[in-house]
C-alpha cells in the first residue's frame, strides 16, 4: 500500500484538502451573498417586470457578460492589484477568494435570474394584486417559489468553483489543485495526482448529491 503511494505526503494532502474546502466555502458564501441580489436585480429590471428599466438592465447584463466571458485564468491575473487591495495579498487561500467570487458571482446571478423566470407569471400577478410591495414580492413569493431552482444554481456554481480553485492553485493559492499541478504534473508523481483527483471527485460528488437532495426537499410541485 505505502509502496504504491510512495510520493504521497498525507499531511500535505490533508492541508491541501482543508485549503480547498476553505476556498470553496468562503467563495461560495460570498458568491451567493453577491450573486443572489444581482440575480434578483437582473430579473426585476428585465422587460415586463416590476422595475423594468432598459438602461439598468442593459448595464447589468453587459457587466455580467463581460465578467463571464473573461477566462478565469486571465481574471486571476488581472485581478491581482484589486485582490491585494481587498485582502492584502494575492497568494494563499485569502488571495484566491476575490477572483473566485468575481468569476462565479455573475455566473450564479444569471442562473438565479433564470430560476426566477420559471416562477409562474400568474403567481407574480396574484401577489401584486394583493397589494404587495416589491419587497414582499421578492421575499414572500419570488424567492420561496424559486428556491429549488436557486439551490440547483448554487450546486452548479459550487462545482464550477471546485474547478476554479484548482486553477487558482496554479497561481499560488494552494489546495488540491495546486498539489496536482506541482507534483502530479510538473514532477510526474502520478500517485499524488491520482489521490488529489479522487479527492476532488469525492467533493464534487458530495456537492451534487447534497444539492439534489435539498432541491428535492424543497420541491412541492
Amino acid at each position: 500500500m505505502s509502496d504504491w503511494f510512495a510520493n504521497v505526503d498525507w499531511s500535505e494532502i490533508a492541508q491541501a484538502s482543508l485549503d480547498t474546502l476553505t476556498m470553496l466555502g468562503g467563495s461560495l458564501l460570498l458568491t451567493i451573498l453577491l450573486g443572489l441580489p444581482l440575480g434578483v436585480l437582473l430579473f426585476l429590471t428585465s422587460p415586463g417586470q416590476v422595475w423594468q428599466n432598459r438602461a439598468v438592465s442593459g448595464v447589468l447584463a453587459l457587466a455580467v457578460n463581460l465578467l463571464r466571458s473573461v477566462p478565469f485564468i486571465i481574471l486571476l491575473i488581472v485581478m491581482i492589484p484589486l485582490t491585494v487591495l481587498l485582502v492584502g495579498t494575492s497568494l494563499g487561500v485569502a488571495g484566491a477568494i476575490p477572483p473566485l467570487v468575481v468569476g462565479a458571482a455573475p455566473f450564479f446571478a444569471r442562473l438565479v435570474e433564470s430560476a426566477l423566470r420559471e416562477v409562474d407569471r400568474n403567481t407574480i400577478e396574484a401577489v401584486q394584486a394583493m397589494g404587495a410591495t416589491t419587497r414582499d414580492l421578492v421575499f414572500r413569493a419570488l424567492l420561496p417559489e424559486a428556491l429549488p431552482g436557486i439551490i440547483a444554481a448554487a450546486t452548479v456554481t459550487a462545482i464550477a468553483l471546485v474547478s476554479f480553485t484548482a486553477m487558482a492553485g496554479a497561481v499560488g493559492a494552494g489546495g488540491l489543485g495546486d498539489l496536482a499541478i506541482r507534483f502530479g504534473y510538473q514532477r510526474f508523481q502520478t500517485d499524488v495526482m491520482l489521490v488529489t483527483v479522487v479527492l476532488l471527485l469525492v467533493l464534487v460528488q458530495f456537492l451534487q448529491m447534497a444539492g439534489d437532495r435539498l432541491v428535492r426537499h424543497f420541491t412541492r410541485r
Partner: protein, 322 residues
Amino acid sequence: MIRLENVHKAFASGHAALGGVDLEVARGEVFGIIGRSGAGKSTLVRLLNGLERPSTGTVSIDGTNVSSLSGEGLRTLRRRVGMIFQNFGLLSSRTVFDNVALPLRIAGADKARIAERVPELLARVGLIDHGGKYPAQLSGGQKQRVGIARALATGPDILLCDEATSALDPETTRSILTLIADLNRELGLTIVLITHEMEVVRQVCDRVAVLHAGRVVETGSVAQVFLDPKAAETRAMLDEGSDHAAPIAFDGPIIRLTLRGDAILQPVLTRIARETGTDFAILDGRIGRFKDASFGQLTLGLTGGDTAAALAALRQHGEVSE
C-alpha cells in the same frame, strides 16, 4: 361603483388592445364581460386593480381614479379588490393555509388575526381540512377555491374573476360559479367576471358587456343580451356550437316566441292551437334559467287556421318577433 370612460390601451408594441371602452358596474352586481380570445378582456380587468394603466381615459372605483394611484394608495386599493385567475396563481411552495394567509401577512395582520381569519376563509370555501396541503395535492376546483379564499382574505368589496373557470370541467365550473353567486349574495360583493363562455354568463351574471376587438359592442341585462342580441358579434357568439343560425325552410310564417319567468310553465301553445285552429311546428328552441329567472325561446312555424288570431294570442304571453 366601477366606471370606465373612453378607455384606450395600447401596448409598447403598438398593439391597441382596447379602443375606447365605456362601462359602468353597479355596487353589488355580478357583471360579466364576454368576448373571444384576444378581445382585450384580461387587459380590461387588469386596469381595474392597476396591474395595467390605460393609455388614455379614466378608470375609477367609487370616484377614485385608479390610474392616478401609486405606492401605498394603490396597495390600499388592491386590498379592496380581490382577484382570481384562470391558472389560480397559487404559490406552489406554500401550503393552502399559507397561501390564504399571504394577503393578510402583506397587509400586516398579526399572528392571532391570521390564526382566526384563515380557518374562517377555508371553511367558507369548503376546504377546512385541507389547510396543510400543498397546491400540487389539490384538484383544479379545490385550487380555485383556495384562490377565492385568498382573494377574500383582506375583506374586499370587489372580486375580479379572469376566466376563473376556464380550466375546469363543467361540473366543477358549476360549483365554483355557485360559490361566486353565494359570495355575491351573502357578502354583497361586486363581481366582475371575465369569460368566453355564454353559459357562465347565463348562470351567474346580472348584466353583461360583449367585448369585441377592444370595444364594447353590446351591454345589457343578461336576459336582454341572451334572448334579443343586437350586435352581430353577440349573435355569432350565441350561435356557436349550435345550428340556430341555419336557415329554416318552412312553408308558412315563421316567428320567434320568447317566454320569460312563469310564462314558460303555462300550456300556451296547445291551448292557442285549439282556440285558433293554427298548428305549430317547433323548428328550434331552448329553455333554461338565468341567475334568477327562467326563459324559453322557440322558433315556430305557423300553419292553417287563423294565424293572425294565433299571433295576437301569443303576444299576450311573450314577445313575438317575425
